[in-house]
């Protein structure tokens, strides 16, 4: 397998100190940090269908040792996450080597390794009262009036069990102090979650950050269509600033200090 050879080369030529990939352990495909000392372990390297936030693990390692050179098995979404983390100075592009995986199929490559290739199934009750996973924000806005949209989002939000899984799994959530843990914004130890404020805090913070990997939606025990919510806020960012998070290594409009941008308040229904 070419991937194994390439990863071994990276380690043996000291281009990276650790290579983050997947291997099978006890029947589960789980991430693993391969090192030069155990380079033969790389024979077990797999491209797992189960995606884990490898970029977040890279951030954890970098925090422990900022000079550590890390190799990563990168899907398209990982690549976007890495670009965003470079933008926000969480990772140094000089310390990261990627081995790209064939994931999202295109006209050039029809085969892909991703659990997302099959669309999610939305049940009949969720379709009638909540939100279809596969709906697009534009379509959703066009099909439902504001009252209907509010009731549908509230149906989804009130299922929240406040596990913080969406934030914990998010590869681009790296803040040391999180607004979701601020006692004045979200009261600690209280269930049910304060809706919709809990989700709206996270949604506003995902504007210009979310790279649409879908890990949050995967981790949500309440089946809240988070991906669509963050797509909606990101659409607003790309409409106003022309910025798509993770597309390039460029400064985000939210990381530039000293430049004022005037926003005109507009009703939600336009």
């Amino acid at each position: 397998m070419d991937m194994v050879k390439a990863a071994k080369e990276l380690l043996l030529q000291d281009k990276v100190d650790i290579f983050l990939g997947y291997r099978k352990l006890d029947g589960h495909q789980i991430p693993h940090g391969f090192t030069k000392a155990h380079v033969d372990d790389l024979d077990q390297l797999e491209i797992s269908l189960n995606r884990y936030p490898l970029e977040k693990i890279a951030c954890d390692l970098t925090r422990k040792d900022p000079t550590l050179k890390i190799g990563i098995l990168a899907r398209d979404c990982s690549q976007r996450a890495l670009n965003l983390l470079y933008t926000w100075d969480q990772l140094n592009p000089e310390n990261i080597e990627t081995l790209t995986v064939n994931c999202c199929p295109s006209s050039l490559s029809t085969h892909g390794d991703c659990s997302y290739l099959k669309p999610k199934i939305t049940g009949a009750y969720k379709k009638a009262h909540g939100i279809d996973y596969n709906d697009s924000p534009k379509n959703f806005m066009a099909e439902h009036d504001s009252q209907d949209r509010l009731s549908r989002w509230m149906y989804e939000f009130q299922k929240c069990i406040k596990c913080y899984g969406c934030r914990n799994v998010c590869p681009v959530c790296f803040c040391k102090e999180c607004s979701l843990e601020h006692p004045n914004l979200v009261e600690p130890g209280v269930l049910p979650a304060e809706v919709p404020i809990f989700h709206l805090i996270r949604a506003t913070h995902m504007a210009g950050r979310c790279i649409d990997c879908g890990l949050c939606e995967d981790a949500c025990p309440a089946h809240i269509p988070l991906r669509m919510l963050y797509r909606e806020v990101n659409d607003a960012v790309s409409d106003i600033f022309g910025y798509v998070p993770g597309d390039h290594i460029e400064k985000s409009p939210f990381s530039i200090i000293g430049k004022t941008v005037e926003l005109t308040p507009a009703p939600m229904d336009v």
Partner: protein, 135 residues
Amino acid sequence: MDCEFVPSVCSYCGTGCGVLFEVIDGRINRTLPLKSHPVNQGKLCIKGWNLHEYINSYMRLKGPLVRENGRLEKATWDEAVNQAARRFTRIKEEYGPDSIGVLVSAKITNEENYLAQKFTRAVIGTNNVDHCARL
């Protein structure tokens, strides 16, 4: 630097969700849900997500303590077990086996729970045994 992942089972309740510990240089740094686990299918509750915090907590009890003269003192397992056995025997002889009750936990395994009820019924000689997850 060493980074490995260890699949495990959440120790908080009897559901048995699969978790994955991110171990960096021998220390658990983060907990992730085990995506391929049939029980939780890649989801966790807030307690499961924060397993590493209690494992690494400085307040965590790592050895037995015995209360002597009103203060908890560090002891060896042999001392602690002997002390407990001695006091239980005394209570049982003085007030009868039904003066003792045993509460077992969802945080220990099925087998350990079985042993605890066996111990209560066969050794102590009472049916006063219950479990926190007996909903």
